[in-house]
Symmetry: C2
């Protein structure tokens, strides 16, 4: 059987979510880098795979999947071993709520194309700081070792890349001790570590940590 | 058993998604309006229910659910009659991908708080026009009567409120004939019609259509 093909950009937080999940579930895959700074997501070849002109895209099981959250749900459903969603519907809704607080409320506003168009230097720092306040409050009642209880879930998978970006934008993480603790804790795990932007084949050599 | 309580704002597209789904599945509920223009989402009482300080929030089955997409998934899982997701994982991923193209890529950037902070008059029109281009291309290969094939799915549930907003912002919908056709078609269905902002108890009288 052919290896899944993963179209990814090393620093894209949405790509990182999927890399972590593939690693977590032990799914081997091949990476094809799509450089967002070179606008490679707009080539006719890539657009025919991903009409939304964003990364990531995953070719797996003879099909093409787009949008990271849809991909995570697909992998969870078709590879239920090493689950990243709790079985209980209420707890599952709690995980998915945190996923959306990151993947809908936070990441899209601080997406490269939105930052460029906004034309305000403080834009990404402002929004991440604003939304991390809310997420920190929520985690105060749901987190133990990880975002929801003691098991790694899709909430952690989405949180880690968002914190990496927050640090790039010099967000003061001392204001968000729970978020920061979970970030550090997750990066001790192989699945997260191997998915780190600095370990990807398209990472510029000055940042590379392989 | 107590009726579910739904905290909602008439013009919030995320609230509309949940209203449509509750109606579609025949779940009776009570509405408590939260006025976003009066900042009622920031009161201590509401924040204790919804730490993200956004609408909607749904109290159901003895629990409190936040984030519209997490709520839709919960309702789909716990009330599988009149499904809004296909059974096949690949088709399901296609629906969820369209859901995220709206709920992550489009709606959050055109959220009231983001529009205010951006301070550019053309902001919401620009982003909706930009993203509808991509969604129109995707629908050209997935849509029949509705977004994915001939059945109503969560993709339609999310699309309709986004088009209503697009029309408010004077987006030229003649550029997006598939999106517009599906919008019109969905609004012929009772579940969508009854969920329309102009039929909500907190809709100002000059817009009201009850």
């Amino acid at each position: 059987m052919e290896l899944p093909t993963f179209y990814s950009y090393y620093r894209s937080s949405c790509s990182w979510r999927v890399r972590t999940t593939l690693n977590w579930k032990g799914i081997d895959y091949e990476t094809i880098p799509i450089s967002l700074i070179k606008d490679e997501q707009k080539t006719p070849e890539y657009k025919s795979l991903n009409p939304f002109q964003v990364v990531p895209t995953l070719e797996i099981d003879g099909t093409v999947l787009t949008q990271s959250i849809a991909i995570l749900e697909y992998l969870e459903e078709t590879r239920p071993e090493k689950p990243l969603l709790p079985k209980d519907p209420t707890k599952k809704a709690l995980v998915r709520s945190l996923v959306q607080a990151i993947a809908s409320d936070t990441q899209p506003i601080t997406n490269l194309r939105v930052i460029k168009y906004a034309g305000k230097e403080e834009w990404p720092k402002y929004w991440v700081t604003n939304n991390f306040q809310f997420i920190e409050v929520q985690l105060a009642s749901t987190a133990k070792e990880y975002c929801v209880g003691d098991e790694v879930t899709l909430a952690d998978v989405c949180l880690v890349p968002q914190v990496y970006n927050a640090l790039r934008w010099e967000v003061d993480m001392t204001k968000f001790p729970i978020i920061h603790r979970i970030y550090i804790k997750c990066l001790e795990l192989d699945a997260f570590k191997a998915a780190h932007p600095h370990r990807q084949i398209d990472c510029p050599s000055e940042l590379k940590e392989i």
